[in-house]
Every structure is written in C-alpha cells, then in structure tokens.
C-alpha cells in the first residue's frame, strides 16, 4: 500500500495528509506523531473536566455545611474526578502523548512497531472515556464509590456504576496495548548501533512503564469484571453475605493500582532526566544508576500494594512486610533525585521555562515522596490513613510529580511538536503563579490530615475551617496559572514564531530532525557509532 505513494521526506507531519482529508487525515492516521496529538487533545478535554470538578470540590469545602452542592453530588464529584484524573490523564498521559511522539524518534525509528494497533489504542481510549461520561449523564445517578470502587459498597450503591467500571476496564486495555507496542518497538527498532546502554533515559522509563502496564493492568481488569458480575448476578466473590472477602477485593485492586502509580511517575522521571542534562548542557550524572533505579522501581513497585491496606485487617506479618518493601522502593527514587541534582553540578545552566518546571518538579516530588515515607511507616500510617494527609501526598506526587513533568515536557518539546516557539515571558509567569497556587492548595491538606480530618468528607468540623479556606484560595490561584499557560500554548501553536530544529541544543536524536518532523522522521536512518551517546555534550 505504501509502495504506491512514496512518502515525502521534506513535508512535515502536520502538513502531510496521506490519502484522507480534513479530520479524517487525523483520526485515520497511523503516524505516531498524529496519534500523539490526538491523545493530547482528547486528554486536554477530559483534563479540563477533571480540573473543574476539583475546583468545585474546593469551593464546596470553603466552609463547613452546604456551600454549592449536596453530599450526594460531592461524592459523585470526587469519584468522577478521581476516575478521570487517574485512568484518563496520568496513567496514559506521558506515554501516550510524549511517548508516542518521541519514542520512535529518540531511538531512530520511523514509527512504532505496530502503527495500526497504536491507532486502535486511541480509539479504545476514546471509547473508555465515553463510557465514563455515559455513566455521568445517563441512568439513575452518577457513580459515588470513589475511584477505588471498594466492595461491598460498589455493589450496594444504587448509582450507575457499571458503565464507569466498564470504562475503566476499557481504558486499561488501551493502556496495555500502548505498553505492548512500546516494548516491542524498543526491542526491535532501535537505530543500528544504539545498544541498550546508549538509549536515552526517556525511552528507558517507557520500557519500565510498559512492563508494569502489561503485568498489572489485567489484574484490575478482571477485578472490575468481577465487581460488575457481582452487581449483575450476585456471584458472591467479594460479598461477605455470600462468603466473599471484601479485603481480597482491596488486595486485587491495589495489586494494580499501586504499580499504576509508578506507571504514572516513571515517564515523568524520564522526561525530567531529559530536560535537566539539556539545560545544564552536561552529560547526565550516573546514567547507569538512573537506568537501574528505573528498573528497580518498576520491579519492587509490584510488591508493595499492601501499604494501602494497613488498617484493613491484614495479618501483622503482611503489614510489616509491606511496610519494609515500601521503604525499599523509596530508595531508587532517592537515587534519581541525587543524580538529577548532581547533573546540575559543574553544568552551564540555562534558565528557561522547561528547566523551571523540572527544578520545581524535583522540589514537589521530594515533598510528595517524603510524605510517602510517613505513610509507609506503620504507626504513622494508622494515624493518617484516609485523612487529608493522604490526599496531600498524592496530589503532591501525582500532580506535582506527573503534572509538573507534563508541563515541563510540553514546554521542552513544544517547538519540536509544533515547529513554533511560545512566549517565554508568559510561560514563566504562568509557571510561577501555578507553583505558588499549588503550594497554597495542597500544603494545608498535610496540616489538616495531621490534625485528623478524614478524606472524602463533604462536611467537616469547624476546627478545620481556616486551613480549608487557604486551600480553596490556592486552587483559584493555581487555576489562574493554568489559564495563562494554556492560552500561551494554544496561541503559540498557531501563531508563535518559527522554531529552530534544535532550540535548546539538545543531544538526543529528536533534535537532529526538522521541527516539526517529517512524516517518517528521518530522511536517512541514523547510525550510532562507538563514541555516540544520548548526552555527549563536547
């Protein structure tokens, strides 16, 4: 089929339409770069919905008692917020957008191994998203179980849970296919001479992520199927009335959902590992250590799920085993932080927007991660489990970590993706407003949790009022920052000044192709020699 129309090497992927016209040249395109943008736009839509729900929650919590909604609505809002943010934004986020766009280019390939499967993953993603939306719009009530769907509440509630669960299942399938595609691509399609130890760090993290996606997602898939069957037939697997064990549900759920948090953070760490060397103009410090820690996180992260269940009634043995393993998985993250900071040492640092995001990433990631240590320790987790402290932890790390990395990545690769540059002044303003808002929004939640305010609370006692006000104000500041950032990016994608091939003097392969890249990326397949490597700044 391709032999008929040879693909030009001088037309950018944004202009080349292939055999379809208009929108069809996007939604039928198997070009990994176009698929990446499809993901970017569809995620952006879902993301804005999630953000609005987040803001609504904060508005509700500005004062005790009813502010803008009923308890029923609040419960629905945090459920949908959680489902959207986890299953549609941060789990697929960096792999589907930046992984798709950059993985083939960074390893010197023309596309991913299975381009059609890649497009199919996006369709499946959209289907999953539509199912979740359907659960909100139709039927008798929006799901209200929390994103964890804990049994037995999840088959007692009268709300419209089935489509949401099925949606999560379908989204998981999309994520599996993406992971599979990336692993095969990395195994088979690296440029000649690019050995494993010459592969840049971002593809490495995608490789680790791919494995977690493959091995963890099916477990939650089957678990969600069982919850649906339970709702429909009452088979009893998790129903205590029929002999089932609700705690077993929690085991299975977290066997996926803990590794899932590393699905989220690993590509984020990968993006940071690209940005820092580029802006320090320096070889990354401890390449091998960073690779090893990536694989260690992926591997050990598979066995720590029980730290979400310290009060659920596990045996003591299981509790301290999980606590111990949790502490072990923190060490590779620490190694990464040390290596990033050391990369800056003796560098020649250029202060640009992506670097600001990366540096603030390190800061908020440390806060999020270190608060994870409080949660990993038995005595203290019993105290703060299911309080606002946990909410603060995961917003700092999920959204501080993954979100900041996402924004860092988009400011870093934007010129490559769209061939244009954004307004740097505006981008920096957006960053600082966002950063301040972020701290004001989530830091008070640590305090609230330490004082004992439970999470998923629609209403709270007056003693928690002051900190909640600060938090709500923070959410507005942050939203303002977000608006600045998004407007700047959207405008620049169309009207920004043309960008160079290599505006940051990066050393990885994507900076050797034109911006935006041509359809099959490389006019000539790059070949790695003995001395070449991803971060050779000489």
């Amino acid at each position: 089929m391709q032999a008929a129309t040879p693909i030009p090497t001088d037309v950018s992927y944004l202009e080349y339409k292939g055999k379809y016209k208009g929108i069809f040249s996007w939604i039928f395109s198997t070009d990994h770069k176009r698929i990446a943008l499809l993901y970017l736009y569809s995620m952006m839509v879902m993301f804005l919905v999630g953000v609005l729900l987040g803001l609504a929650m904060k508005l509700e919590l500005i004062a005790p008692g009813k502010t803008i909604m009923e308890a029923k609505d609040y419960n629905a809002v945090f459920t949908v917020h959680g489902v959207i943010m986890i299953f549609m934004i941060v789990v697929p986020g960096l792999p589907a957008v930046f992984g798709n766009f950059l993985l083939p280019i960074m390893i010197g390939a023309k596309d991913v191994a299975f381009p059609k499967l890649n497009l199919l993953s996006w369709y499946i993603y959209v289907l999953g998203a539509l199912l979740v939306i359907a659960s909100v719009l139709f039927g008798n009530g929006t799901p209200d179980t929390g994103w964890t769907f804990y049994a037995p509440y999840s088959f007692k509630t009268g709300t419209n849970l089935l489509p949401a669960i099925f949606g999560a299942f379908v989204l998981g399938f999309s994520s599996i296919l993406t992971g599979l595609n990336f692993i095969v691509t990395i195994h088979r399609m690296r440029a000649p001479g690019m050995t494993w130890t010459k592969m840049p760090l971002f593809p490495w993290t995608l490789y680790g992520t791919g494995w977690i996606q493959l091995l963890a997602t099916p477990v939650v898939g089957i678990t969600l199927v069982l919850v649906s069957l339970e709702r429909i037939f009452g088979i009893g697997v998790f129903d205590p009335a029929l002999g089932g064990d609700p705690i077993l549900y929690q085991h299975l759920f977290w066997i996926y959902s803990h590794p899932a948090v590393y699905i989220m953070i690993l590509p984020a760490m990968g993006a940071i590992s690209e940005i820092i060397p580029t802006f320090a103009q320096k070889h990354v410090f401890g390449y091998r250590a960073i690779v090893a820690s990536t694989l260690a996180i992926a591997f050990v992260g598979y066995f720590v799920w029980g730290h979400h269940m310290f009060t659920a009634g596990m045996s003591g043995t299981a509790q301290y085993t999980f606590s111990l393993l949790t502490f072990l998985v923190a060490i590779p993250s620490a190694i990464k932080v040390f290596n990033w900071i050391s990369t800056m040492h003796q560098g020649s640092i250029r202060l640009e927007t992506p670097f600001y995001w990366a540096a603030s990433f390190i800061f908020v990631f440390m806060i999020g991660g270190l608060s994870g240590l409080v949660l990993g320790s038995l005595a203290t987790d019993v105290y703060v489990h299911d309080t606002a402290f946990v909410v603060a932890h995961f917003h700092f790390i999920v959204f501080g970590g993954v979100g900041f990395a996402f924004f860092g990545a988009i400011h870093y690769w934007f010129p490559k993706m769209f061939g244009r540059m954004y307004d740097k002044g505006l981008a920096n303003t957006g960053w600082i407003v966002f950063f301040i808002g972020f701290l004001a929004l989530y830091a008070p939640m640590f305090y609230l949790g330490m004082k004992g305010m439970p999470r998923r609370y629609y209403d709270y006692l007056p003693e928690f009022h002051a900190a909640n006000i600060l938090s709500t104000l923070g959410s507005w500041v942050m939203a303002f920052g977000l608006v600045i950032i998004l407007i700047n990016l959207f405008r620049s994608a169309k009207h920004g000044p043309k960008a160079d091939k290599n505006p940051w003097n990066g050393k990885t392969l994507e900076w050797t192709v034109p911006s935006p890249p041509p359809v099959e990326n490389f006019a000539e397949t790059p070949v790695y020699g003995e001395k070449d490597g991803p971060y050779e700044y000489q």
Binding site: A109, R188, P218, L229, L242
Partner: protein, 206 residues
C-alpha cells in the same frame, strides 16, 4: 541481547510480531492470574466446602476435555511445521482438526453447564443460597467465572484460527511469511496452558 533489524518498507518483522504476541499472552496470564489468586485464597479459607463442591463436577468430562485440548494444541503446532515446509493442504487440514476439536470442547462444556443449570446451580441462584454453604457458593461462582472466561478464550482462539485459515487458503500466509499462523498457535497454547491448571483445580480435588 538480540540485535536490531532495521525495518523495511513493508513493515514485516516476524520477530516483532512474535514478541508482541508473547507480551499479549503475558497479560492474559495475569488476567487469569488474578482469578487464580482469588481461587487459592478462597480454597485456603474453605477447604472442606471446596472438596464437597468439587464432587459435583464430572471428572470424566473434565479428563476428556483436557485430552481434546492437548491434541488440538499438538495439531496447531504441527500446522506451523507444515506451513514451513510449504505444505498448504496439510496445514489447512491440521488447523481444521484444531477448530473441530475446539468445537467438541465447547459442546462438552455446554452439556456440562447445562446439567449444572438443571440442578439449580448457576450464579445468583436461590437454590444455591438456600442449600449450600458459603464456601460451596464461592466454589461454583469461581467455577462459572473461570471456565466461562476460558470458554470465551476458546471462542476467540477459534475465530483467530479460522481467520488465519482463510488467509492461508488465499495464499497470504506461506512458508516465507507465517508469523500470524505461529501467533494463532501461541494463543491457542495459552488457552491450553490455562486449562492445564483449571482442570486439577476444579475437577481433581477430592
């Protein structure tokens, strides 16, 4: 490590599709893996009831079905050898045998399930709730889910093999290009492997 082959224009890389298939098989293994975790936990918590309930299942049908699947696995494996020798007729014949055996397996399952339903044993049945202990209800719940999901995989596998047969008949699959046939075989063996575990776990605990 394996060395890198630069892809050509027509994207045919049998090694890549083989890895892809294996990775997919891993996800399937973990899908059933989740169920095996559940099974082993409940079995551990209700050993007596599981014994009792397993008595209800028919060992003979189970054994026959096991053998059917094993034979069909051998035939599809032989089909991959046949295609490499470019023997199209033999390939198609072996695949046909595989599909027919799969069908027999399903027919057996149909009667087996039918008999259970006839005795009032099916998910959510009032009869079970009234006459059985919680452990037995769990056993049958798992029995239906696991064998049901397995049967679903049999159906998918059959469809896959039939699809490959059509391509083979049309000459799209031949001794130079048979990755798809090999993959359908891999998938079929996966279905077999899962049954190899389901069989003792459900039929052989006495």
């Amino acid at each position: 490590m394996e060395h890198t082959v630069h892809q050509t224009h027509d994207h045919y890389d049998p090694e890549a599709s083989k890895i892809g298939m294996w990775l997919f098989i891993f996800t399937e293994l973990l899908l059933f893996g989740g169920l095996f975790v559940i099974y082993s936990v409940y079995r551990f918590l209700n050993p007596e009831a599981f014994h009792l309930a397993a008595e209800e299942l028919n060992r003979a049908i189970g054994t026959i079905n096991t053998i059917i699947l094993l034979v069909s696995s051998a035939t599809i494996a032989m089909a991959t050898s046949a295609i490499q020798k470019n023997n199209k007729r033999q390939t198609l014949l072996l695949m046909l045998v595989t599909v027919l055996l799969a069908l027999t397996f399903l027919v057996n399952k149909y009667f087996e399930w039918g008999a259970k339903f006839g005795h009032g044993i099916f998910p959510g049945s009032e009869h079970m709730i009234q006459t059985m202990s919680k452990g037995e209800i769990l056993f049958f719940g798992l029995y239906f889910i696991m064998t049901g999901l397995h049967a679903l995989h049999i159906i998918i596998g059959m469809a896959f093999i039939i699809f490959v047969m059509v391509l083979t008949a049309r000459g799209k699959i031949h001794s130079e290009r048979f990755a798809l046939l090999e993959n359908s075989g891999l998938y079929w063996h996966l279905v077999d492997v899962i049954w190899i575990f389901l069989f003792p776990l459900f039929y052989l605990i006495h």
